[in-house]
Symmetry: D2
Subunit: 344 residues, 4 copies
Amino acid sequence: MYSLMNDYSEGAHPRILQAMLDTNLEQTAGYGQDPFCQEAADLLRARIGRSEVDIHFIPGGTQTNMIAISAFLRPHEAAVSAVTGHIELHEAGAIEATGHKVVTAPGKEGKLRPEDVQAVVDFHLDEHMVKPRLVYISNATELGSIYTKQELSALSRFCREHNLLLYMDGARLGSALTAPGNDLTLADLADLTDAFYVGGTKNGALIGEALVICSDQLKEDFRFHIKQKGALLAKGRLLGLQFRELFRDDLFFQLADHANRLAAKIQEALRALGCRFLLDSPTNQIFPVFPNWLIAELQKDYAFLIWQKVDADHSVVRLVTSWATPEEVAERFVARCAELLRNH
Amino acid sequence: MYSLMNDYSEGAHPRILQAMLDTNLEQTAGYGQDPFCQEAADLLRARIGRSEVDIHFIPGGTQTNMIAISAFLRPHEAAVSAVTGHIELHEAGAIEATGHKVVTAPGKEGKLRPEDVQAVVDFHLDEHMVKPRLVYISNATELGSIYTKQELSALSRFCREHNLLLYMDGARLGSALTAPGNDLTLADLADLTDAFYVGGTKNGALIGEALVICSDQLKEDFRFHIKQKGALLAKGRLLGLQFRELFRDDLFFQLADHANRLAAKIQEALRALGCRFLLDSPTNQIFPVFPNWLIAELQKDYAFLIWQKVDADHSVVRLVTSWATPEEVAERFVARCAELLRNH
Amino acid sequence: MYSLMNDYSEGAHPRILQAMLDTNLEQTAGYGQDPFCQEAADLLRARIGRSEVDIHFIPGGTQTNMIAISAFLRPHEAAVSAVTGHIELHEAGAIEATGHKVVTAPGKEGKLRPEDVQAVVDFHLDEHMVKPRLVYISNATELGSIYTKQELSALSRFCREHNLLLYMDGARLGSALTAPGNDLTLADLADLTDAFYVGGTKNGALIGEALVICSDQLKEDFRFHIKQKGALLAKGRLLGLQFRELFRDDLFFQLADHANRLAAKIQEALRALGCRFLLDSPTNQIFPVFPNWLIAELQKDYAFLIWQKVDADHSVVRLVTSWATPEEVAERFVARCAELLRNH
Amino acid sequence: MYSLMNDYSEGAHPRILQAMLDTNLEQTAGYGQDPFCQEAADLLRARIGRSEVDIHFIPGGTQTNMIAISAFLRPHEAAVSAVTGHIELHEAGAIEATGHKVVTAPGKEGKLRPEDVQAVVDFHLDEHMVKPRLVYISNATELGSIYTKQELSALSRFCREHNLLLYMDGARLGSALTAPGNDLTLADLADLTDAFYVGGTKNGALIGEALVICSDQLKEDFRFHIKQKGALLAKGRLLGLQFRELFRDDLFFQLADHANRLAAKIQEALRALGCRFLLDSPTNQIFPVFPNWLIAELQKDYAFLIWQKVDADHSVVRLVTSWATPEEVAERFVARCAELLRNH
């Protein structure tokens, strides 16, 4: 049984474990004020090419979203999300638990466009409704799609014209930035968003997301918010060390590229077999439409998520590759699909 | 420079790192539903001797407190804490951020007694005030002291008679249970409290606390609360793996015992040198009263916390030993104190 | 200029003011523990025919919703509302500000049916999502429609089978219960819901809603929640006095009936003039589709809300009558419409 | 039986009821956007002598405190209150329910001095603790004492030097400003505080407090916060109308002065009888120390609060006069005390 269920089924990239072994007994300050966090932040700032951004390492993605959004908003302000957004669907009401409504727009293939946000803004007229203030997007999205530079620039411009903050969830940012068709850089993100995060957990780290705060107005006292939400790890070194390892060379990007490449390989092979897809994803999550009998057969050897029903006989499934997926798993999987389809 | 600042200055106990290496590429389910968490929970339940308790692994201590307390209380209910309690002083208002007041009682040497809680209960008369509902205690306390079985039994009885929940913060529970004078067992805690946690971070783990929910009424839907507060790690295996290692034999207790023993060694040596203490602590945090000149001299080689001012010339300092503190550090430290005092 | 904007444009029914004058200098206990509140609650309980329900008087509707819902739910639980629900659209995120997500279902004409709620329940699978726990409905709805006994019974049965609480917003309950076609009684509401409120503000009172808690499990400590949310008026007598006056005879129902009757009169007359409606409303809010030129003409003499655009030339408007609307206003309004349409 | 329990035992001053009668059927806009609120705000601004302050009418005091404080603070920021402060003791955790800790200082006779706040500021060192940001004071205090201009100026200066907001709870502001020894004006309050409120409920109104926001930075979007906390009354006219009546001449001050005068009369008479007091209060709450037998005798004819125990035989009681207390009640009360003491 091999799992294509998600990109966090294994531990950490071996280089990360090695770094932990190498530094294990060094004494450091707690709560993220250790030299590893410092060094990792410096490496990341250099990579972004913006020395003035603030960087905070936070254990998880839901946590990062809820800390950032609750820190950035006043009580009556709301976050705008695509209906498929992680904060809307898969965070157990974490944003609302901090007091803020999540307002949704349909979006397109998991992405928000200026017209989506415009409709939300137009709908919210006065103090009887919440005030939309922060636009939440994911890159890659929950559907595997990515923002182009043109799309993100348009959205960013719209947000600035309408006094809206733009926040990017980067749980799978590595995949987005190494995807075919991507033309965004970390520097672009720093220019175009008010804050974004660089996801570690889904790209080879044990835990850890690096929140990058670009707008000066959002920086003040941020560590208080991390602490108050229970995310200031005593051994914050664990976060710094991992990001140091991921960014002291191109490891972060190599791992994401590996995952993307295997997903593309599967996607292309399945397409050659006549398979349709929910959408065309250039990243490590792909969404083929499978006949139910094929799903049942594949489930004997592979674990994956059934995403949604299409009709009585077909369903969309989600296949996820990761930094740890062996090349031969991808090959074996498509070979098995081909074999099953051929013999049906 | 050696740090006696706290018990989380290093990484993890080597056996924990080894377990991570050994299992790194095994694929597991996410979010704490992996076999390591299952196994760790079983080991811990066996150790507690109560098969019916629920066990959840949560990354940090503040997080565990805020998740448990906000899950256990209704909006108008308050937690009662000693004035020295961690939730009152050192969690950046995390409990209040979930909507609950922390009501304080003076307590004694960091501990709450029935009479402390009685006074709080008596003071809260009606719906114009919050309703005290949960008694928060720490063992070991923030001052290093521990609860005896008699003390905890009396408090537990009081709580049950007054419809109060009793919750124990066990960030340093290992130290408490291995301290000289301790007569409590994990089984006692399960009998006497409604919930408690077994601290990993301060006893050899990288991150991780094991929350033990003893009362059936508090168990329902608890994973929702963990998720909503951002504490359901995608790679929850990291928590399970560590607790499996700590509890598959006596490692957890050995590490705590080591820390206690070194603290006692320092405490006894300092006492022999005529040193007074803020209180008599049997655990790994000790609080000697030092003349300020001695503090200044020691700070050249050792990092530690200045706890409070005593008079113009003296201060209380906090010295913390850990599973990682070498025997010779303790010896060198007391030798240096002796030398400095002798030559003054 | 006459306003058909809403049903709270005037002060209070004269009998209420008279009761205030008559009792003004009587000294009473504060915070709703006065004899007027007691008497009003007894009258209301008698009218409901259920001696065991708890009744609390609360100044406003948004306040009542937020106090009740936050008191009834645990942190991870969500309220289910029609997309047109007041808590979803017109309470500025009040429910979310207490920490709870509002999950929506499309509903039909402002009403929720078992199948709407079933879809929400089916969609929420595990602890990565909120747990739907309370079904919020309004009667009359925000679109003026009402629940029949059959509809409410079906929804109630569904809720009980699925461990969901059923809560009814009764801001315009008077209108609902006196509407043509209504077959529900206050006693039915007590049987079929877990809690509901009887709206005073929109039916002749200055302020005040009477929350009726039917389920025993929801009653405990409720006054704490009222106080904590700032709704326990020092001069709570003001609330009790008004409800005493409304329920010491049939005044409450007479006022609602008056409003309904005038709305029906306008609706029938407009229909006779060929006017279409957004929906067929039997209560005091009606939603005709008007050509924009007619709207512009009418606005010279009447204030009302433009509800939504239909096409380039037509819009839905909302006309609201109240206990205070004079018969001749309704007559003049339809005459004016007839005249304008005739001369166009 | 006459109640000296509080200053909200009766309805409203007759002129207020008359104004309600006179305007009852005038149609106005809802939610505080009516001409009465406008006029009342203008009158109050003129009285304050600061045209640029924002004024909002809010039904109750706890509500005003919780809306203002939660609107003014970011999540990690705390309010500083005297231990006797209303937000600390008598609001059922309303501030904490909005997510903010209330940090206390002992204060003196219910008042905070710069040194009290300095100690709080000094104690809060870093992000492991909340950040004190708003200083909450009451005038008159919960003990009846008042701030002099010198005291308030010193506190205001301290707050500005330390980037702290200064907020004054004016539930009994009328009593404070008309008390013997008072040298503060409404204009001073606008100069020295960031926001304060003018209490109506305890000075002749049915409900209603007028929040005055002086600092520009605190003004934005404030109506959203009122709405979100359920305090935007549909018939907001009820609030405006009452404040119009209280401030269209000196009624507000006359009512407070009456209450103060009667309290002073009782206080002086009791002092002449040898009675001691908890403190010397110049306002409408006084705190004599009575022997318990006297309390028991008086309770046959008068209702009042037993404030605290002094010793086995004595207790402090609280006597409160109001705009509605007849002169002869005060006379009869002291005569009865004199008689009882004489005959003992």
